[in-house]
């Protein structure tokens, strides 16, 4: 069940939309970077916890590079420009990965033995359960950060109106990179967890899986962090159900069909948007 993966990517996307009104298409690319780096570091003999941490650092750095070349320059440009630049980053990341490691599926070794947990007929993978718990704890931490700290207040002011924030003395050029670092960490962590749990990564996993985080974000309500978790779980569930009842080929149709449906009927998402001031 990929729900918690989608949830974390959804959080990264929703944070960017909520605070900066920036649909950051490079996030699925950062997810891929997280996954591929984990594989790479483990292949070079690192123990998995260290490999995961290093992968997080790589993901956060990549996200900072994106910040340097998108939002920082184009805050006042035509509306599509930052979005389009972030798409270029997705293409850049994917093809750099292909150029170095080829486009094949790469496998990771089995790390945790057989860690399934059986209750009756139900099979629950413990690493997956831990992943879900971890993501909930982290998102809870993020919401505390947003509501309690000075950085959080700054971010919320920017979300309201970046010009006012400047007038109020919020140092935008120092605080905005934090959004990218946090977003990058969440996306990369999703990649790390995916790599550890499913033990298979490839350069286009961002496109194949990461983009579904967009559905999670929209279903939960753009700009709403907790909504993204719920959205991720709903998308994961929709996938599981369509595999069970319609077959594996229908997964993408259901996920993106749900996205389109929500956008048409209730664009603010199931749980209302705008907790961080998101408006398109």
């Amino acid at each position: 069940m990929l729900g918690s993966i989608y949830a974390m990517i959804g959080v990264a996307l929703t944070l960017s939309i909520g605070v900066l009104k920036f649909l950051n298409f490079s996030i699925p690319g950062v997810f891929m970077i997280g996954g591929m780096s984990t594989w790479l570091f483990i292949r070079h003999g690192m123990p998995w916890p260290l490999a995961g941490l290093c992968a997080l650092a790589v993901g956060a750095s990549a996200s900072l590079v994106v910040e340097r070349f998108t939002w920082r320059w184009m805050r006042n440009a035509q509306e599509f420009v930052p979005l389009v630049s972030s798409m270029a980053f997705l293409i850049l990341f994917e093809n750099l990965a292909v150029a170095y490691w080829g486009s094949d599926l790469q496998s990771l070794p089995q790390l945790f033995g057989n860690a399934d947990w059986r209750i009756g007929g139900l099979v629950i993978s413990i690493p997956q359960l831990l992943g879900l718990a971890l993501s909930i704890v982290l998102i809870w931490g993020l919401s505390l950060l947003l509501s309690r700290t000075r950085i959080g207040r700054g971010l919320r002011t920017i979300a309201e109106d970046s010009d006012t924030a400047i007038l109020l003395g919020v140092d935008i050029s120092r605080i905005v990179p934090i959004v990218f670092v946090i977003g990058g960490l969440f996306a990369a962590l999703a990649g790390v967890l995916f790599a550890l749990n499913y033990r298979q990564v490839h350069p286009f996993m961002g496109e194949a899986l990461g983009l579904k985080g967009i559905s999670a974000m929209v279903v939960g309500g753009m700009g709403n962090i907790w909504g993204a978790i719920a959205g991720g779980l709903i998308i994961g569930m929709a996938e599981a159900l369509s595999i069970r009842y319609l077959g594996a080929d229908f997964v993408d149709i259901s996920v993106y069909g749900l996205l389109l449906f929500i956008l048409m009927v209730r664009p603010t998402g199931l749980f209302g948007g705008a907790s961080a001031g998101a408006r398109a």
């Binding site: 599509f80 270029a88 150029a99 993106y256 996205l259 956008l263």
Partner: protein, 285 residues
């Protein structure tokens, strides 16, 4: 003509068609991230027609465009109720739905892909590309082109001036879908084989990138963007991935230096009316 040169020119012609498909809605202020989906509809529909009904590609490809246009019109009405990021996401979802649906459509081969028997070469493809280009250029010399830009610049005021904003948006979106469908048909009939994976979000993104790179304010922009991004990597050779890396890197840098794209409407007017603008500057100063 060498096979290599023909290959490059075919790619150029198809990319130009795709670029205009994305350009029309962008000119009206709508970012269509589902261009590949409409190209898929046109590509598969025309391939099906020419393969099963033995229609000439010259007829099948425009019909494929019509099919894509009908899908475009059908979804434009509900989808264009959303705007901004929501519209971009809705079209993105749409493109992915089309791609995923084709994977499940056994009549056209499903995941195995679909072989196309009819074959067209550069002259035919170039003719279509030229036709599309001339059509869009003519369209932008009419009140339609002015109205599209007006809707893009200020919907509210356009409405108050009596323009039917929704109608123009739907028209631009639908016409863009027709052109995308034609592009897909050209691709299918030249490469003799299509598969759903080709019509992925990467294709949509690349097409939008051509247009933004060339500039969205004039009809020359898409042509320029498609040309630069088809020809430049050829000059540099290298493997396909490095071309994409280069493509993305150039785009990122250009967007930083020149977010309005390579060429703007104002520049073209200046080029066309050198003298009058020179005297303007003096007066304005």
């Amino acid at each position: 003509m060498s096979g290599y040169l023909e290959g490059v020119l075919v790619l150029l012609a198809i990319n130009v068609v795709y670029a205009y498909a994305a350009f029309l809605p962008i000119a009206a202020g709508q970012l269509n991230l589902g261009v590949a989906g409409f190209a898929a509809v046109g590509g598969y529909a025309s391939a099906y027609l020419s393969t099963t009904l033995a229609l000439s590609p010259l007829i099948a490809i425009p019909l494929g465009g019509v099919a894509a246009g009908l899908v475009g019109l059908g979804v434009a009405v509900p989808v264009l109720r959303t705007r901004g990021i929501y519209l971009a996401l809705a079209t993105f979802a749409l493109g992915e739905i089309v791609r995923a649906s084709i994977l499940n459509l056994e009549v056209v081969g499903g995941a195995a892909g679909y072989p196309v028997t009819a074959f067209i070469r550069l002259p035919t493809i170039a003719m279509f590309a030229l036709g599309v280009t001339v059509l869009v250029w003519l369209l932008f010399a009419t009140r339609f082109g002015i109205a599209i830009t007006a809707v893009h610049d200020d919907e509210r005021v356009a409405d108050l001036m009596g323009l039917d904003v929704r109608a123009f948006q739907v028209a631009a979106f639908t016409l863009g879908s027709v052109i995308a469908g034609i592009g897909g048909g050209l691709y299918a009939h030249h490469f003799s084989y299509i598969e759903a994976q080709y019509f992925s979000i990467s294709l949509s993104i690349s097409i939008v990138l051509y247009v933004l790179f060339g500039g969205t304010q004039s009809v020359i922009g898409p042509l320029l963007g498609a040309a630069v991004f088809t020809l430049l990597p050829e000059l540099l050779r290298g493997s396909a991935q490095w071309r994409y890396v280069l493509f993305a890197a150039i785009l990122i840098v250009v967007m930083v230096i020149r977010p309005q794209g390579l060429i703007t409407g104002a520049q073209i007017r200046r080029l066309l009316g050198l003298r009058s603008s020179a005297s303007q500057k003096e007066r304005a100063a």
